[in-house]
């Protein structure tokens, strides 16, 4: 499927791929995955090149397609390093959408320059975002925050958190779902690492407790954030879909190369009809997910934040990634199971992406609610 990329998009694609191929050392990747370490140096280099948060870098419009391209390109070369780089700006769109110049210079720009890592802490239940119990009250210019967040990616390496919480004002009982930026060195934060991961092992994950943490009121990013959050999630779904597609492409290209070289009973595996049909299915799924994702990203660039296309893109892409990686492992046989041949790692990353929030089930809820509408 030909996507009609603009000249500038093609250049970004080329730059990202060239960078990744040059910098993403295979042995390093294996080692980082094994040890669960974040690829700090490469991330900083990517930021220097402008590849970090490329969709929010620059002027006032979101160039989401650029980030789709970067995510796919980096993850296709290495799913672990690629997704790690992308993870450092998790939640940054919320700063972009809502932040004044203060947030911009203090929190957003350092992400883009590779000086800071942001971590968006939102989950309290695996099922949905509707069950926020982290509470804060604002009094005398200070917000006091208490509660627990689950599965916070990059909690240990982040410089600050964006927290989804309920904020109440002094002597006013109503609570408002809001966003607040909390510096890592604030007192009252306890990070409980969740140990080794199945996939995306270069990004440690932890539960984070807040116990009467005091934060300046100026750090309230958005008061009443429901609609912003929904917009953010649409963006986030597209970026996750892009990571999934990158993973799928990376595993696919490795398996394709293998089947063209590896001979069995005197024939290259790629010459067997069953292999050919698998390759056709794998490619079709990748192209399909790709097209959905570009279309959804384009929608958002055009200012349409409808959450249906992004949910369908992520659902399709994450299923495609698991399917393609699984078949890649099988096509490569015993080699597919060996760390050295990469695809088992891509497979674990794909599976981790698929099962972590938002799960396929949550995405289907979004889609169904939109499609079914009201029932009489």
């Amino acid at each position: 499927m030909e996507l009609n990329l603009t000249r500038s998009q093609k250049e970004i694609q080329k730059a990202a791929t060239t960078f990744a191929k040059g910098e993403f050392d295979k042995d390093l990747a294996l080692n980082l995955d094994k040890k669960g370490r974040f690829p700090e140096e490469i991330w900083k280099k990517a930021a220097e090149l402008g590849l970090v948060g490329i969709h929010i870098d620059g002027d006032k419009e979101l160039s989401l397609v650029d980030s789709v391209i970067v995510a796919q390109s980096l993850c296709a070369v290495d799913s672990g390093i690629g997704s790690s780089i992308l993870s450092t700006t998790s939640g940054a769109e919320l700063l972009f959408m809502d932040g004044d110049e203060n947030f911009r210079s203090k929190y957003l720009v350092p992400l883009l320059t590779g000086d800071k890592v942001c971590s968006f802490a939102y989950l309290e239940s695996e099922k949905n975002l509707q069950s926020t119990n982290t509470r804060a009250y604002l009094q005398d210019g200070v917000v006091t925050l208490s509660g627990s967040k689950l599965y916070v990616v990059n909690a240990e390496i982040a410089d600050y958190f964006i927290i989804l919480c309920l904020i109440s004002l002094k002597e006013e009982p109503s609570e408002n779902l809001s966003l607040i930026v909390v510096d890592k060195n604030t007192d009252g934060i306890n990070i409980r690492p969740l140990g080794e991961k199945l996939g995306f092992r270069m990004n440690p994950v932890a539960n984070v407790d807040f116990s009467e943490a005091k934060i300046p009121a100026a750090n309230i990013l958005t008061f009443n954030c429901e609609s912003k959050l929904k917009k953010y999630l649409a963006i986030d779904h597209i970026l996750k879909a892009s990571v999934a597609i990158g993973i799928a492409k990376g595993a696919f290209l490795r398996a394709l190369e293998y089947t063209k070289l590896r001979k069995q009973f005197g024939t290259a595996i790629a010459g067997f009809q069953v292999t050919k049909h698998k390759i056709a299915d794998m490619d079709t799924q990748i192209q399909t997910a790709n097209l959905l994702t570009f279309q959804a990203a384009q929608n958002i660039e055009n200012g349409n934040y409808d959450d249906l296309p992004s949910a369908q893109a992520l659902l399709t892409a994450s299923k495609a990634a698991v399917y393609v990686c699984d078949e890649a492992v099988q096509l490569m046989g015993g080699y597919g199971y060996m760390a050295e041949y990469d695809v088992e790692r891509f497979y674990r990353d794909a599976k981790a992406l698929e099962i972590t929030y938002p799960s396929c089930s949550a995405l289907k809820d979004i889609i169904a609610n939109k499609v079914i509408g009201k029932i009489k």
Binding site: L30, K34, L123, E126, K127, L150, Y151, L194, G195, E196, K197, L198, G199, F200, V205, K263, Q264, F265, G266, V274, V322, D326, V329, Q330, G333, G334, G336, Y337, M338, A339, E340, E344, R345, Y347, R348, K351, A352, E354, I355, T356, Y357, S359, C360, S361
Partner: protein, 375 residues
């Protein structure tokens, strides 16, 4: 819906094994997984307790049990959710070659050690450039006086580091028909010219020492030929039924464990009120129940010495595909917690992925089924 009937003796055996696993295995799994190997001492402990080669006759030191003992070992090892102690490779795959084709001298020399765990065995079949295609084997065995001289490399060898004895397939380079030029040899650890690689880094089976074996002018006495010369291909084929069957048995017990764990997890989370979860569990439960009946039927037929090549190939394909799909689906139901290694299903997912590849890929299974049924 059980087909297999276990005697009191079987159940007592299982109970002892269960306790052994609880006390000697489960507490050590994490360490062994990190070490990428299980210490040989554990094998000896297993041997002492009669858990290795449980169906070897008493005259070779065995307990004279039947294949149901092997089934119970597979069941209990599956319960430990860990494949580092895949003793079935030794007990049900490799040792049977020796038992079936060994000379009386070989039997007496090796089998008692196989039972006690002093001799851990491995089979050297797969090569870097030949997976399921044995005819393209490159490891050679050349006669030289009263020896064979072996050269070549084997890969993906389970128990490759721990093994004390290898049943090795090698080809006579002067043979015309490659299918009739393969012989089996018994190569002891420590033989000059035989070296082992490091454990390979894998997606799963972390503590199972899978390694490469290198043979460089490795000279072994002629009496270490196993079975008749040039008959290796046939001998390897003849034992595949049991090899593939035990894979199916193990796969089904892993399926059961995963589903059980997932149900408990969801119940504790209060997530069984989700209709989608209930339906998923019902669908998985159905496939597992159906697969179990089939697996038990295969065991029954196998124990009656029926030739069930096609049915066993079907079983290997069905059950190993199932165990993979169950792991994928359980992880989906579990959600975020499934992305942590702390979740036992995460390990089962990593471990089970090899089962549709090893012991003949499922693609090979399908070719076998088609060859016998649809040609």
């Amino acid at each position: 819906m059980e087909i297999l009937k276990f005697s009191e003796e079987h159940l007592a055996f299982e109970k002892r094994l269960e306790a052994f696993i609880d006390f000697e295995v489960i507490p050590n799994i994490q360490k062994w997984e990190k070490d990428k190997i299980v210490p040989k001492s554990v094998w000896r402990q297993l041997g002492e307790n009669g858990f290795l080669c449980p169906n070897l006759p008493k005259k070779y030191g065995g307990t004279g049990g039947d294949f149901l003992h092997s089934v119970l070992v597979a069941k209990q090892l599956a319960r430990s959710n860990f494949n580092g102690l895949a003793t079935f490779i030794h007990s049900d795959i490799v040792v049977p070659y020796i038992e079936a084709y060994g000379t009386e001298k070989q039997l007496n020399k090796y089998l008692p050690g196989c039972v006690t765990g002093d001799i851990i065995t491995a089979v050297g079949m797969t090569e870097p450039d030949s997976g399921s295609d044995l005819a393209s084997m490159n490891t050679t065995a050349v006669e030289d006086g009263d020896s064979f001289v072996i050269n070549g490399t084997k890969t993906f060898i389970s128990n490759g580091v721990n093994c004390d004895l290898v049943v090795l397939a090698a080809i006579n380079p002067e043979g015309d028909n490659p299918h009739k030029a393969v012989s089996l040899f018994l190569v002891e650890d420590g033989t000059k010219g035989f070296t082992k690689g490091k454990p390979l880094e894998k997606m799963g089976w972390k503590s199972q020492d899978t390694a490469e074996l290198f043979f460089s002018d490795c000279r072994i006495p002629k009496e270490n030929l196993l079975g008749s010369q040039g008959n290796g291909f046939k001998m390897l084929m003849a034992k595949l039924q049991q090899e593939r069957l035990i894979c199916s048995v193990s796969a089904m017990y892993f399926c059961e464990n995963m589903l059980k764990w997932t149900v408990e997890y969801l119940k504790n989370k209060g997530a069984l009120n989700s209709q989608v979860a209930r339906f998923a569990l019902s669908e998985m439960g159905t496939e597992i129940t159906v697969g179990n009946v089939y697996m038990e039927k295969l065991v029954e037929e196998h124990m009656k010495k029926e030739s069930i090549i096609v049915e066993t190939s079907m079983g290997k394909y069905f059950t190993t595909d199932l165990v993979k799909r169950i792991s994928l689906r359980c992880l989906e139901l579990i959600g975020d917690f499934g992305s942590l290694e702390e979740c036992p299903v995460a390990r089962t997912f990593r471990d089970s992925r090899i089962t549709s590849i090893f012991a003949g890929t499922n693609e090979i299974m399908k070719e076998i089924i088609a060859k016998f049924s649809y040609s």
